[in-house]
């Protein structure tokens, strides 16, 4: 029988197969979302399966009629997946306000993708202070009522139960990252990042079971890795071939700031009190995305601190071409990392046209610099 990890790795070749099977088995609704600020717990409490869409490596055929070529590949390929019917198992989509591109993609998606329901969660951009928290709480309430309308009523207890399941998932993923920070050799980074990404592609309770098994194998394991530890900066990381190559060249991400990585599971939701207050709390307090404004918490300081904590000697920025928020953050974060003595490398890519050979040369050069 395949091990838990093997089962999970198989999913990487067909990421939505479990969602499809779940839908067939349970007859429940599958709801797509893009951003890790999406209120997954609410969808879960409504009995739906939230599934994350982050585009994929493909050449677009239909999305070009809606989105210009200077739009990021995440939006373009995701829209293409919807328009060509590859996401036909979706019953609806939840969009979160993040960047200008996502905000327009939401319009275009709502008008063209043709799924039964569409909800926008208009998060604030300011992520500090009482006003923003109050607004977020009110907006979450509105999203909840829209979801109840589309998917059926669900009560506070159901949300609390979902919060517990999600907190468990976050705790297990945190443990995985803790173990890897102590010894990255126990699991290559392409697998570790996938283990996190897969959490948003299947039923959470099932993912928890799989994680328990994986972790019981890893606890006490020793990888004795002499790989060069690096820190990953970016948004979505779905370039498995690239991560595999990084491992082959003798490097590894010991920790990261990817929104499909560490940022996905960071921060707990309180299991006490009003569940929407609790969800608001996590939204406002967790590690911030480039799309959010948090004047008292500079992203660069946090990234430097985390790069240090994982023993990294360098950092790789994995940037989507045409991405405004992350593009604007890059110079300041790079400067902070430079000043703290980290070697850095910026890689810019578009899903569907990643040239591994070109990236290899540049990663090799970075590793050479570090080895000295």
């Amino acid at each position: 029988m395949a091990s838990a990890l093997e089962t999970l790795m198989e999913l990487r070749d067909d990421p939505y197969s479990r969602a499809r099977a779940w839908k067939e088995r349970t007859g429940g609704s599958v709801v797509g979302f893009f951003c890790c600020y999406a209120p997954e717990e609410l969808l879960h409490a409504a009995g739906a399966l939230p599934v994350r869409v982050t585009g994929e490596n493909r050449t677009v055929s239909k999305a070009g009629a809606h989105l210009q070529s200077y739009c990021c590949s995440l939006a373009r390929t995701a829209l293409d997946m919807a328009l060509t019917g590859d996401l036909d198992f979706l019953d609806g989509t939840v969009f979160v306000h993040t960047c200008d591109t996502m905000q327009r993609l939401s319009d275009i998606w709502r008008l063209n993708a043709g799924y039964p329901f569409h909800v926008d969660f208009a998060l604030p951009v300011r992520f500090e202070g009482k006003l923003a928290a109050e607004y977020t709480r009110a907006e979450l309430g509105l999203v909840r009522s829209k979801l109840a309308h589309a998917l059926g009523q669900f009560d506070d207890d159901a949300i609390r139960e979902s919060i517990r399941v999600y907190n468990r998932n976050r705790a297990l993923l945190t443990e995985l990252y803790d173990l890897r920070r102590a010894d990255p050799g126990i699991m290559p980074c392409d697998q570790a990042v996938w283990v996190v990404a897969s959490a948003a592609l299947m039923d959470k309770a099932e993912h928890n079971e799989i994680l328990e098994e994986i972790l019981s194998d890893l606890r006490g394991a020793s990888g004795r890795s002499d790989r060069i530890r690096l820190f990953g900066v970016g948004s979505v990381m779905d370039q498995w071939e690239f991560l595999g190559m990084l491992e082959d060249l003798g490097g590894t991400f010991a920790d990261d700031d990817f929104c499909t990585g560490h940022r996905y599971f960071e921060g707990d939701v309180s299991e006490e009190g009003d569940p929407l207050d609790a969800l608001t709390g996590r939204l406002m307090e967790r590690g911030q995305c480039a799309c959010k404004h948090t004047p008292d918490r500079e992203r660069s300081a946090r990234i430097v601190q985390r790069a240090r904590a994982c023993g990294a000697r360098g950092a790789i920025f994995f940037q989507f071409k045409f991405c405004e928020p992350h593009g604007f953050d890059y110079p300041a974060i790079k400067k902070a990392l430079d000043e703290a003595g980290f070697a850095t490398l910026e890689l810019e890519m578009e899903q569907g046209s990643v040239s591994i050979e070109q990236l290899r040369t540049r990663v090799e050069a970075l590793l050479e610099t570090i080895r000295g």
């Binding site: 210009q68 306000h97 327009r104 006003l131 071409k321 405004e324 110079p331």
Partner: protein
């Protein structure tokens, strides 16, 4: 071809406008109060609630307006390169790149560059880009930044969104009191808001004169004459200026003077101008007897403020601006514009710098055709970065489009 015939008549008020803007920049650069202090300077986004600054006697400076000037003067690419060398990607908004370059080198379209800010007021009702851009300015100048956060409107605007913005008005007042060290006067604010409303109404009146055939001005003129409404609304000078301009346009209408000789086609422009190409484009359309009678850009400053409840109505108005609404609401406004100005077609500038304005244009152009039966032309360019622009290709496409009308 007789050049004389196609030359557009000159707008007399242009001189006053230039003077107004020059004075404004000279004042901003030379403001000195006793004891070596100066009037506080605040850099503000084009969609920001400037009325608060004017009421607090703070000088507003608009990097976007300056970006447009740098674009028109064709110096934006050089400034952008400074930012690009620091690691800012060439794919980022070119206003931001040029402004960051200008800030670091203290240069630009006005000698010595823009006067340095004491603080920043960023309103994200036009885009999320400005938040990132102003964060960088806050780092460069080491000054505080106030983010005036206006939630995007997808289908409808919930009550709590207006309340969130209204409460921020009060926070902004506090912020300004702390910065300027003096109390904020609500009476003064109401006065400023009233002047702002008056100027906006006059501006709307100017734009409305283009409903006549022939139209007395083109959107290329509007792009130039919008500078005061963007930068100085809320002052008496601006009210006076638009009275003058409106009168001149009304006279033209009365005398049947058109901006384009023998106007035959009436078109609507969508998106920010291609600043470095304005003159050429203006001539190109005029040669083909096409007048761009209105646009979605200059109408964006036509916000309504109600004097009875300035804060709530301002919160509402600033949240509902053209770039902060979904494309189906945009479509309604676009169709209304097409009908009101009896347009024969739509010219869309697909502006690689500006994603909130440009993404969605393909859908909009199809929807406009469906609703009005009118065709559109999409020009791929950038508002200030001429390095990505092809003049020959644009000329060819414009001529073919007009021929097809």
């Amino acid at each position: 071809m007789a050049d004389e015939k196609i030359k557009s008549p000159k707008i007399q008020a242009t001189e006053q406008m230039k003077q107004l803007i020059t004075e404004y920049y000279i004042d901003a650069k030379t403001t000195k109060l006793p004891e070596g202090s100066h009037k506080p300077i605040c850099w503000i986004t084009s969609g920001g609630p400037v009325e608060f600054l004017i009421a607090a006697d703070v000088i507003p400076i608009y990097p976007e307006n300056h970006g447009a000037m740098c674009g028109a003067a064709r110096i934006a690419p050089g400034l952008a390169e400074v930012a690009e060398k620091m690691g800012f990607s060439r794919d980022l908004c070119s206003y931001a790149r040029a402004d960051i370059g200008g800030a670091l080198t203290e240069s630009g379209a006005i000698p010595g560059g823009l006067p340095k800010p004491d603080f920043l007021l960023c309103c994200n009702n036009i885009c999320g880009t400005v938040v990132k851009w102003y964060e960088e300015l806050a780092r460069i100048f080491d000054v505080p930044m106030f983010l005036f956060d206006t939630p995007f409107i997808h289908v409808e605007k919930p009550e709590h969104a207006t309340e969130y913005v209204r409460q921020q008005c009060l926070e902004l007042v506090k912020f300004l009191e702390e910065r300027t060290g003096s109390g904020f006067s609500l009476e003064r604010f109401a006065e400023v808001a009233m002047l702002s409303v008056e100027a906006v109404d006059l501006w709307k009146g100017v734009l409305a004169t283009a409903e006549s055939r022939p139209s007395p001005f083109t959107c290329f003129d509007a792009f130039i004459h919008m500078a005061p409404i963007v930068t100085l609304r809320g002052t008496q000078k601006v009210v006076d200026y638009y009275k003058l301009l409106k009168k001149e346009m009304e006279d033209r209408v009365a005398q049947g003077v058109g901006a384009v000789h023998d106007e035959k086609y009436r078109l609507i422009w969508d998106n920010i101008p291609i600043w470095y190409e304005m003159r050429n484009l203006g001539n190109l359309f005029a040669e083909n007897r096409a007048c761009l009678v209105a646009d979605t850009y200059t109408t964006a400053w036509a916000v309504d403020i109600r004097i009875e409840d300035p804060l709530t109505s301002m919160a509402d108005a600033y949240t509902k601006v053209y770039l902060n609404i979904s494309i189906d609401i945009m479509l309604e406004q676009l169709v209304e514009l097409m009908e009101r100005y009896e347009a024969d077609g739509l010219v869309m500038h697909s502006n690689r710098s500006c994603k909130p304005y440009s993404l969605g244009q393909y859908d909009l152009s199809r929807a406009v055709a469906e609703r009005t039966g009118k065709p559109s032309l999409i020009i791929e360019a950038d508002m200030t970065d001429s390095r990505v622009y092809s003049e020959a290709q644009t000329r060819e496409r414009v001529e073919a489009f007009i021929e097809s009308l």
